[in-house]
Every structure is written in C-alpha cells, then in structure tokens.
C-alpha cells in the first residue's frame, strides 16, 4: 500500500464520517423523521403524487388548459376524445380537459377554504372542551353531538337555499361550519390525554398560563391527528362540493367537476366522456387525499419519551 493509498483512504473515511454525522443531524428534526417514515409507504406516496398533481393543475390552470373552459366551439359539440380535444367536448362544445383542469382549482379552493374554517372551529371548540372539562366540556360536546346527528348534506342544502347568493365563498362557509364536529372530537380527545402528562404539569410549574399551555405545550403534540383528520376532511369537502354543484346548488358561473357530472349524466349513453372524466377526477382526488391522510397518520407519530 502506498502512502497515497492511505491518504485517499483516510480522506474517504473522514468523508464517510461526515456523511454519517450529516445523517444524524438530519434525523434530529421530527419532520425529517416523519418524512423518512412516510417515504416507505408506496400507497401514501401515490396519494401524495395525486394531491400534488391536483395542486399543480389548480395553480397553473390558465397555462395548462388548452382552451378557455367556457368557450363553446360551434359545430364541435359532443366530439369524442380526439387529438384536438383530448378528452372530447360536451353538448355545448366546451373542452372537457380544460374544464377538468379549471375544476381542480374550484375543488381545491373549496376544499382548502372549508377545511381551514372547520379546523379552526373544531380545534378551538375541542381544545377548550378537552382542556377545561367540567360544564364547558359538557355544553360544547352536546352542541357537537347535535351537529353530528343532523345529516350534513341536508343541513347544507337547507343553508344553501337560505342564502340568496350562490357565490363560491358561501359554499366554502357552509361546508366549513357544518364539518367541524369530527375535528372537535379528535382535538378534545387529544387534549384529554395530553393534559394529564407530566410535561404539562411541568409547564404549569414553570408559570405558563392556561392559554400558553394550550397553544404552546399541548397543541403541538396534538397536531398530528389534526393534520390527518384535516386531510380526510379535505377529501370529503371536495366530494360535498361536487354533490352540491351536481344538485345545482353551487355558483353557476364557476367550472366544477360536480357540475360537469350533472351536465354529462343525461348524455351518458351516447357521449360517455362528458361525465366519466370528471367522475374519474373526483374519484382520484378523493382517493389521493385519503391515501395521503393514511400515510400521514402512520408517519406523524411523535417519538415516545424513551
């Protein structure tokens, strides 16, 4: 062995050591830990990819869509999928592909907006309920129970018919304010168990106020199931929005998958593509977000004390 060999070996060894230290350092962050666990599940990756596709379609809809989704191509109504219209056109000559791309934007905006509202309401109600207990808990949980006993779709239809305007904002609001009970229950159950843990006592002994204990010491430990549940709620909000626009209760000026379904289902027999592709889009989106939720649930388990 020459001296040169030894030199290269030692440098490669120190590089190896550096690499290992680097890995160790990366492993330190809890998010990286979660990611390394998430990576191992093929189905969750699949879900994440679909979710990412929907997000990309939604953001870049104006660039990605070949036509204006509302543009009616005269004389080219109900064209089956071809090179000019990859997914065909509907009975008014509108490009199905463009509508699907723009519909992703509607679905995602409604989904994120509604989930934002329902997570906010659910987490506030659930954390107050779980942390303080007693009659506050009793009262809030009875309200939650009542919300759960009312069929959501019925409530939504009722509210949608009360509101004069059918703007997308109203739809988001309606899905948001009817969808929080599950989130409230999950948050409450997390708070119930976490508030008994010694580190909460330690925080109180340190002089932290109730509010600070709630948002700074308990909430970060309860966040994993909340994220998971929110992901599932996102899928169901997409579905609810589709149902609403299928029933004609949504903003008539906005392109959405539900409305495409409702337009296409009457012509299903001789123009299958008009309703099938938005159906597949809804199916994939819902499945994708659900798989993503499953993966997150397994990945976000916080490391135990030991």
């Amino acid at each position: 062995m020459t001296i040169n060999d030894m030199k290269t070996m030692s440098t490669s060894e120190s590089a190896d050591l550096k690499k290992r230290l680097e890995i160790e350092r990366r492993r330190a962050s809890l998010w990286n830990l979660a990611w390394s666990r998430f990576k191992k599940q093929k189905l969750s990756i699949f879900g994440a990819v679909i979710a990412l596709c929907v997000i990309i379609l939604a953001i870049f809809a104006p660039i990605l869509s070949p036509y204006d989704p509302k543009e009616m191509h005269w004389g080219e109504e109900m064209v089956p999928p071809c090179r000019r219209f990859l997914l065909g056109t509907d009975e008014l000559g509108r490009d199905v592909l463009s509508q699907i791309i723009w519909g992703a934007r509607t679905s995602l905006v409604v989904g994120l907006g509604a989930v934002g509202i329902l997570v906010l309401i659910g987490v506030i109600i659930g954390s107050i309920s779980g942390y303080f207990g007693g009659w506050v808990d009793e009262l809030l949980m009875r309200i939650t129970d009542i919300m759960l006993t009312i069929p959501t779709l019925f409530l939504i239809i009722l509210m949608a018919s009360i509101f004069k305007s059918r703007g997308i904002g109203i739809i988001i609001l309606i899905i948001g304010v009817t969808g929080w009970p599950q989130l409230a229950r999950i948050t409450r159950s997390m708070f119930l168990s976490i508030k008994e843990l010694p580190y909460v006592d330690a925080a109180r002994a340190m002089g932290a106020s109730n509010l600070r204990i709630i948002y700074r010491h308990i909430f970060p430990n309860a966040i994993a199931p909340i994220i998971v549940s929110a992901t599932f709620r996102l899928a169901s909000a997409v579905l609810t929005e589709a149902a609403l626009s299928f029933l004609g209760l949504s903003d008539p000026t906005i392109v959405s998958w539900g409305k495409m379904l409702s337009v296409g289902h009457t012509t299903m027999r001789y123009a299958w593509w008009i309703a099938t592709f938005p159906g597949i889009a809804i199916f994939l989106t819902v499945i994708g977000f659900n798989l993503l939720g499953d993966g997150l649930r397994d990945a976000l388990e916080a490391p135990s004390g030991r």
Binding site: A28, P198, A203, R204, M206, G207, G305, R306
Partner: protein, 328 residues
C-alpha cells in the same frame, strides 16, 4: 447546628396548618393533614416518608398545583411575607418558575417531546425574563453548561429523546434554575435514575444550590439521598409530620419509632445481614386513618395511649420536634 435558630427567625417559606384533601369516591383523603413546616433561606429541607404518605401532595400544594378532586382546604403558606394561598392565579403564575420552581420525578416525560431541549429552557426564560434573541440563546447555553451538559452549543438543538435520563433530569434542573429561584422544590428528583447517575445529579444539585443560593425542598423516600443533601429533615407519615430535626441528630438519635424504622431499613454495606429489615404493614388508608397516633398499628413500642390520643408535635430538644407519646 445553631444556624437553624437563625433560620427560624427569618424563614423563606412558612407552612402553617396546611390541609390538602382529595374528595374521592371512597371518601375524603387527607393527604396533607395539618402540616406546619419552615424552610430557611439557603437551606435544604428533606421531606422523607414512604410512598403515599403525602410528600408529593405537600410539594405540589406549595405551588398550588393540586388538581381536582384535590383541594387545599386550610392553612397558610407564607412566602416572602405573602400568603400564597391568598394570591390570585395571575400573581401565582409570576411566582411559579421565577421565585419557586419545581423538578419532577420522571425526567423522561417532563420534557415536551416535540420541542428541542434548548427551546424548552428558553420557554422558562421567556416567561419570566425580558431577554431577547442572542442574549436569550446565550442564557440557554449558559444554563446547559451549568448543569454540565457536554458541548451545549450543539446539544441545545437536540430533542429530548436524544438525551439520556440523567441528562434530561439535568435539563429539568436547568429549566428550574434558569430564573434563579429562591426555592427549588425537587420531588423525588433521582428516583427514576440509576444509581451512578443519581449520585451525579445529586452532587450537581448540591453544587448548584451553593452557586444559586437557593433553598431546596427535597422530597424523597430515600434516606441515603437525605443524608447526602439535606441540612434538616422532616419525616412525614400518613399526612402528618412526625419528626423534624437537623440531619445529623435524625441519623444519630431518631426519636420517633417511624424514623427509627426507616433508618433500619437502609441497606448497609458494612453489616452482613440475612434479610433487610422492613417496616411491617403498609401506610394506612388516608380516608380512615387509625385513631390516636397514626403509626401505632405498625409501631413496636405502641402503648395504650397511642391508640386513643393523637400525639402533638413538640420540641424536645432545641430544633428537634417529635410527635410521639414515648417522648414528652
């Protein structure tokens, strides 16, 4: 130990007739029943007794951390001239962690698993001090160095699960001492650590106590820990204080049969014994404590009077208080 007399002139904390009861389904559990105790400035007071005799409840009562169904039903806790039991929750919060702080038994679960060790020390600093940015970080690193965490500049970024049990307890000490408290309450601080680590943490505590000039209320069931750490000892049995004295008299000449029994149950390396002595029986139910002296069913010297009359806590030697009918 003349200096205990000085302490009695100006105690840092004075507990008078404290009663903390738990209202359980089986009845009222008198976990702390009419306890009076003083802690002097810079003094380490050990509170010793078997499990379930009310030591931890006493410790938690001082910080008013008793949770329902528990309740402090009577007494006074005078700290720095104020009765802690009369303060508002807001005022109490300013005392917790700043003037009186606490270290708990289980270091594995007392640190929040989702935050770095550094940010948890920082949290204590944020709550009670007006340090910003770099100064705050410097303080965090300084505290870690004081509790002898190696390379604190690196380790403060770690999460609790990357620390060993002993290191975590040292981090708890860093948190507790970060605001320079007058009183540190340590509830079984070393019970869950293995023996060599125990010794390390104890000597660290002792050094830090000298450095910070804090008083310590040390709750433990381990007489060895008491011997190493305390200046004065209070022996607790079934919710009552049965003997209080300086540490040397307690070990050399215990008056109360319970203290004597506790001392006999310490394993000694110097003696070869077949079987380690234990105290017969268990701590009585605090719902229905035995009448008279609460220790009489387990006491080898019990007399007729012990079954009927509760012995008062009296001073039989200067600074040495005992509640026993045998010593009057």
């Amino acid at each position: 130990m003349r200096w205990t007399e000085d302490l009695r002139k100006e105690p840092l904390l004075e507990i008078r007739h404290l009663k903390t009861y738990f209202y359980s389904d089986e009845g009222v559990v008198r976990a702390v029943d009419d306890v009076s105790l003083n802690i002097g400035r810079g003094e380490v007071l050990g509170v010793v007794g078997e499990s379930g005799c009310g030591k931890s409840t006493l410790a938690l009562s001082i910080l008013r951390l008793i949770r329902p169904p528990g309740k402090i039903v009577g007494g006074e806790i005078i700290f720095d001239g104020n009765d802690l039991l009369k303060l508002s929750e807001e005022e109490m919060r300013k005392i917790r962690g700043a003037k009186i702080s606490m270290v708990f038994q289980d270091p594995t679960s007392c640190l929040n698993p989702v935050f770095t060790v550094g940010s948890q020390i920082e949290e204590a600093v944020i709550l009670h001090q007006k340090l910003k940015g770099k100064e705050r970080l410097a303080k965090v690193i300084e505290m870690l160095r004081k509790v002898r965490i190696p390379s604190p500049e690196e380790r403060y970024k770690n999460y609790p699960h990357q620390f060993s049990g002993g290191m975590r307890q040292r981090v708890m000490l860093a948190i507790a001492l970060s605001c320079n408290p007058d009183l540190l309450i340590a509830d079984e601080p070393t019970t869950n650590l293995d023996v060599t680590i125990q010794a390390q943490v104890l000597s660290l505590m002792k050094d830090l106590q000298r450095e910070f000039k804090s008083s310590i209320l040390l709750v433990t069931h381990n007489m060895g820990v008491i011997a190493k750490m305390s200046d004065r000892v209070a022996v607790m049995y079934a919710g009552k204080i049965v003997e209080v004295a300086d540490v040397i008299p307690i070990f050399e000449k215990p008056y109360h049969p319970y203290t004597e029994a506790l001392l006999r149950s310490i394993p000694k390396i110097s003696k070869i014994i077949e079987r380690l002595e234990s105290i017969p029986g268990v701590v009585p139910s605090l719902v229905n404590p035995p009448p008279g002296c609460r220790f009489h069913p387990r006491c080898r010297y019990a007399k007729e009077i012990c079954k009927r009359e509760e012995p008062p806590l009296i001073e039989i030697e200067p600074g040495h208080l005992v509640a026993c009918h045998l010593h009057k």
